[in-house]
């Protein structure tokens, strides 16, 4: 049974952690604090949030300790990742998932932090949230979206291509149909990076959402081929492809777009799926709960939640 953390209330304390890379500067951290205050919560900066160890915010043990401290503390109600980069995967072997399970609380992040979220989701059977790393929040729309999602214990509004996107409400169906199942997902490379490990996402009968940024088409294809070879595409219920900013051929010789490449696999495996869903870490992105039941209408580009994400 999936554990649902409590919804956030005004004045709740939120731990700001850096499971991967550090915020670029103390100023970026201060701005993240201001963003969290704007949501009506009280930011608590983790001990190693700004530590420097190469591209990592401190050693693997230090970053894991910050995560464990935040989960274990009774005064902390939620945990927000500050920055992506790389390295949350390196904390996994240092985490105590049974301890995390005893202290269910909201955790939100994106990009590389998908590794952390996916691991907590399946090792602690807890609903986790894919949403922007706080340092990258730069629009009031994101602040409102995060606040309303994480403060709600009722069923969240459906996900459809945002009215703010251009052209408004546009989606592109790669294979039509309807699907239902438990929702999982996040950054494509991060999900591929857990394959073969005990932390890997389980794809059976799932609706999965994928997003990626700044990546070459052929690399997206390479990691998606791993899912195909593993047989995951035979067992998946549906796919919502989200935002893929700055993804394209770049310096590679690939002529096909990632949409072409992925669509071929969708048709081959008859997977209800659609592109251009507002899922990722932009100002238009929805905060996505991982681990609750949902329905995908790929024909009409609509993802509906069928249960609440929080208690």
């Amino acid at each position: 049974m999936t554990i649902k953390p409590h919804a956030l209330k005004k004045g709740d304390q939120i731990a700001l952690v850096s499971p991967a890379s550090r915020p670029h500067s103390a100023e970026a951290l201060a701005r993240a604090e201001a963003v969290v205050e704007k949501m009506g919560f009280k930011p608590i900066i983790a001990k190693h949030a700004l530590s420097i160890n190469g591209y990592l915010a401190g050693t693997d043990e230090e970053r894991a300790q910050d995560i464990m401290d935040a989960f274990s503390s009774d005064s902390i109600s939620g945990i927000f990742c500050l920055e992506g980069g790389f390295g949350s995967i390196k904390t996994l072997s240092h985490l105590d998932f049974s301890q995390i399970k005893k202290h269910p609380k909201i955790i939100m992040g994106s990009h590389e932090n998908t590794c952390l979220l996916t691991a907590i989701s399946n090792q602690a059977s807890m609903v986790v949230f894919h949403g922007p790393n706080i340092c990258s929040v730069d629009r009031v729309e994101s602040i409102a979206e995060i606040k309303s999602t994480l403060a709600s214990s009722t069923i969240l509004p459906p996900v459809t291509p945002s009215l703010g996107s251009f052209p408004a409400g546009f989606h592109h169906t790669s294979y039509p149909g309807n699907a239902q199942g438990t929702l999982i997902g996040g950054n494509l490379n991060a999900i591929a990076s857990l394959m073969g490990t005990k932390y890997s996402a389980h794809f059976n009968n799932k609706i999965i959402f994928f997003c990626e940024r700044d990546e070459r088409n052929d690399i997206i294809e390479r990691w998606f081929t791993s899912f195909y070879l593993a047989g995951h595409l035979k067992r998946i219920a549906g796919i919502a492809f989200g935002e893929f900013p700055d993804c394209g051929p770049k310096d590679s010789l690939s002529m096909k777009s990632y949409q072409d490449i992925l669509t071929e696999r969708m048709i081959e495996h008859k997977i209800p799926s659609t592109f251009n869903m507002p899922i990722g870490d932009s100002s238009l992105s929805r905060v996505m709960p991982i681990g609750i039941k949902a329905k995908l209408d790929a024909t009409n580009g609509k993802l509906e939640f069928t249960e609440s994400a929080l208690d």
Binding site: Y55, L92, S193, G196, E221, R222, S226, L229
Partner: protein, 335 residues
Amino acid sequence: MNTSSESLPLVKPSLLKRGDKIGIVAPSSPSFEEGKLDFALKRFSELGLVPVLGEHVFDSLGDLAGCDKDRAHDLNRFFEDKEIKAIMAIRGGNGSARLLAMLDWDLIRANPKIIMGYSDITALLLAIHQKTGLVTFHGPTASSFFESPYTHEYFLKAVMDKNPIGEIGDPKPKEWGPDYPPTRIIFTPGRTEAPIIGGCLTLIKQLMGTPFEIDTREKILFIEDVSEEPHSIDRMITQLDLAGKFDHIRGLIIGECVGCKPGASKRERMTLNMSIERIFQKRFSNFHAPVIYGMRLGHSNEKMTLPLGVKARLIAEFSAGSSNVVLNIMEAGVC
């Protein structure tokens, strides 16, 4: 998901002799410059070998050398053709893993022969080796073939000589401005003797969680990569580590990783990066088995040929302040 190769007896292909035909295939990406193949074809003829081009070797579909069906067809056809004694890829790139579900394993089992390449071809080499027990060869491709005497020498030793390759030497060092890294850096000293397996790290990663996932147990593992940022290498190594792939290895050979300096790749650059050497050193110092770094088995012209599955001996020792590294391929890959 692991397909254990332990139960499969090693199958050695016949050695390559003068007059033998070699099938040239493009299972991944097309050649950058088609004419470059001519250098290799000329070298083949000098060795008395007769190159036969696959039907689709010059096909091009974006970054792939034709569609999956056609690339797989060329491979299956050359395995089936009794006249063809060896199969060589023209180039790596991307796309060989896409073919794995289209290969005819029974056909390959019934027609064991030399297959060689590196980089993206690693997917084929590992999958064929683990599915059939066939000794496959991590070595040059036809468009980076024989362009150094070192590569030439080890190609001959690996597939045109019935004797084991024996002790691996180094390319002739440059007197000034030597290439970095040196070939024999020791992270953890030790001695070991075990079958050897490995290839390009990106491809080893790509097969994780699939029926073709690498089996590293009780093996000496070799890895290399090209144009990956250090954090990307670290991510892949972490994935293998979390999957327990280093728990039961008997030794680790990290080859030269060309273009993997911080900021050297064209993608996913990151500030505050650290060198791969430091990443490897941190992770593999005081390791439970010997670990060395720098041997020339990667993405440069100077490249040894390594038969997958044969027994090798690795000695890495410090003596009188200097490092002594011996890699000896003790068993022939061909019969």
